[in-house]
Amino acid sequence: MTEHVLFLAEGGTRKRAAAIDAVRVLDAGGEATLVVRDFAAWKNERLDKRIRVIDVDKLEKRYGWMRAEQALLVRGPRAAFRLVGLGPVKRLSQRAAGAWDRRVATPLHQRTFLPLLRRRPAARPPALIRQHLGSRAGVDLLVVTDPASMPAAVTFLQIFDVPRVAYNLDTAPAASMGER
């Protein structure tokens, strides 16, 4: 049976390690899922196209009423700044849009709306990941690739029944007989 390895890389501080190990899983005929936050920060990492990437930030922002939150806090103001900033005040408008993002939209999202969203068990990251994976949600090995992913791994293991957990592929325990 194909082995499904899920790499938690929420901090993105060891991108290369995660990317190399994911390719090794794929080359061995397995399935590799990479869970990240802020996928834009991975743009310099030439990720193999076969790796299934899940951006938890995106999943959260698309969940239920968070779409409305994003429209009000991010997309609406950005469109307004673009409209106002046509012509000679373009640079001024761009700076104002950046300041809005940094000082208003991001703090409100992270400190107010995200904790509110996470009160619902079904909207917590592991549940969102499981929902996103659907029928492929069976995970044989969980690889925790950076410090920020350690607390995430603890909550992940409360929802997912994962036979093996490791910090890299080399030192992961071998699958035992009868494992999924």
């Binding site: 410090p147 920020a148 603890v154 293991l157 490791a166 890299n168 080399d170």
Partner: protein, 401 residues
């Protein structure tokens, strides 16, 4: 022969060991394990630092919580020299000071061992306040601790009073302390003159097993192996190469390694119109890097500071001449064979010394250079057999039982 007839347990504790993402980090520790592991029952504890800028509390709590899944029991895999390797990350808040780093290593190793002592009468640690402090706090009371120091950041450690105090305690309580070169032992002896007699030199081992298929006949294919960083002086290597290639269009340069200068160097190659002559290979596994040494004609090593300079010895083992800076370690490793092994130059923030050094070497090559003699001399100093014997003598004494 100083190795006991029954393999004796030896625990090696190290913050650096090669992995899939860092093929070179700690390659010298693996070489030491490869050389000294045979004849012992060796377990390597690789306590790898994972830096972060987050609140340490939740991360530490999660690490402890995950131990039941990741390290109960610790999962050991085979590694070099017949040894076993146990890996654990050491989550570390960035820049907490060397004393705090040492304590985090000790706490993490203790957690991995479930509070029990390292199960070996001989413990060998690498890097004083990381592997060394972790091993000191986790060895059995009657176990003998040996430490090898390689760190290029030793000056920073000794400049912090609390870290210096811990280092003093480590030197007091260890059974033997080895520095890989004078660049390490000199500042230690200066800082701790009362430990002068305990601090000995013990170089890193290098494999001399494989010979190159054909000897070097001209100095056409240059090779650079190392990180692409300012400390390695790689910008000047590229500039010197461009100047020398202006005199000889057949020259080629291969760069093995990665780092913050990868992009600027790539842009410079384009600007100089050298795209056909310069190849960036990125990080390569150690075995591939050694193969590349056997496929090239000249190793160019322009580092600002090295405590040992393993690449230089590896290049000589691969039968290639070296053009190398006097940056600490290489003066010692090549002492007495400087002209046989290649050409030494002073460290400078320019490419002039490299260019002049290359011209002198080219004029002397091949008649006034003796790569065979250099190789033979280096093997007697740094070969696996010599290093294993020195370690086993320190660990087990001279008993022939």
């Amino acid at each position: 022969m100083t190795t006991p007839s029954h393999p004796s347990p030896v625990a090696v504790v190290t913050p650096w060991y090669p992995g899939a993402d860092h093929a070179f980090r700690g390659a010298f520790v693996r070489a030491m394990v490869d050389a000294t592991g045979p004849g012992t029952d060796m377990t390597v504890y690789h306590c790898e630092e994972w830096g972060h800028r987050l609140d340490g509390g939740p991360i530490e709590a999660a690490y402890q919580s995950l131990l039941s899944r990741t390290h109960r029991p610790p999962h050991a895999i085979p590694t070099a020299g017949g040894a076993r390797l146990i890996h654990t990350p050491v989550p570390l808040t960035v820049s907490p000071g060397y004393a705090a780093i040492g304590r985090r290593h000790a706490e993490t190793l203790s957690a991995v061992l479930d509070g029990k002592p390292l199960p070996a009468p001989v413990v060998h640690a690498h890097v004083g306040l990381q592997g060394g402090w972790g091993a000191l706090r986790n060895k059995a009371p009657d176990a003998r601790l040996f430490v090898t120091e390689h760190a290029t950041f030793l000056g920073g450690v000794l400049a912090q009073p609390e870290a210096k105090e811990m280092y003093d305690e480590l030197l007091t309580r260890c059974a033997g302390f080895f520095a890989v070169g004078a660049a390490v032992s000199d500042p230690l002896i200066k800082a701790f003159p009362h430990h002068r007699d305990k601090i000995r030199l013990m170089p890193n081992p290098v494999s001399f097993d494989v010979r190159r298929p054909k000897p070097v006949t001209d100095l056409r294919r240059w090779l650079y192996v190392g990180s692409l960083t300012e400390r390695k002086g790689v910008r000047w290597v590229l500039e010197a190469f461009a100047r020398c290639r202006a005199e000889d269009e057949t020259l080629e340069l291969t760069l093995v390694g990665d780092g913050e200068l990868r992009r600027p160097l790539g842009a410079k190659v384009q600007e100089l119109g050298l795209t056909d002559a310069v190849t960036f290979l990125g990080l390569q596994p150690p075995d591939r890097a050694l193969d590349l040494m056997r496929e090239h004609d000249l190793l160019v090593h322009n580092s600002r500071f090295e405590t040992f300079g393993m690449t230089i010895v590896e290049a000589s083992a691969a039968g290639m001449p070296v053009l190398v800076t006097r940056c600490g370690g290489p003066e010692e490793t090549l002492a007495g064979i400087e002209e046989d092994a290649g050409e030494m130059i002073d460290v400078e923030e320019a490419s002039d010394a490299l260019v002049a050094g290359f011209r002198r070497l080219r004029d002397r090559f091949p008649d006034k250079i003796d790569l065979g003699r250099a190789r033979h001399r280096l093997e007697s100093r740094y070969g696996y057999a010599a290093t294993a014997e020195a370690h086993h003598r320190a660990w087990f004494g001279d008993t022939d039982d």
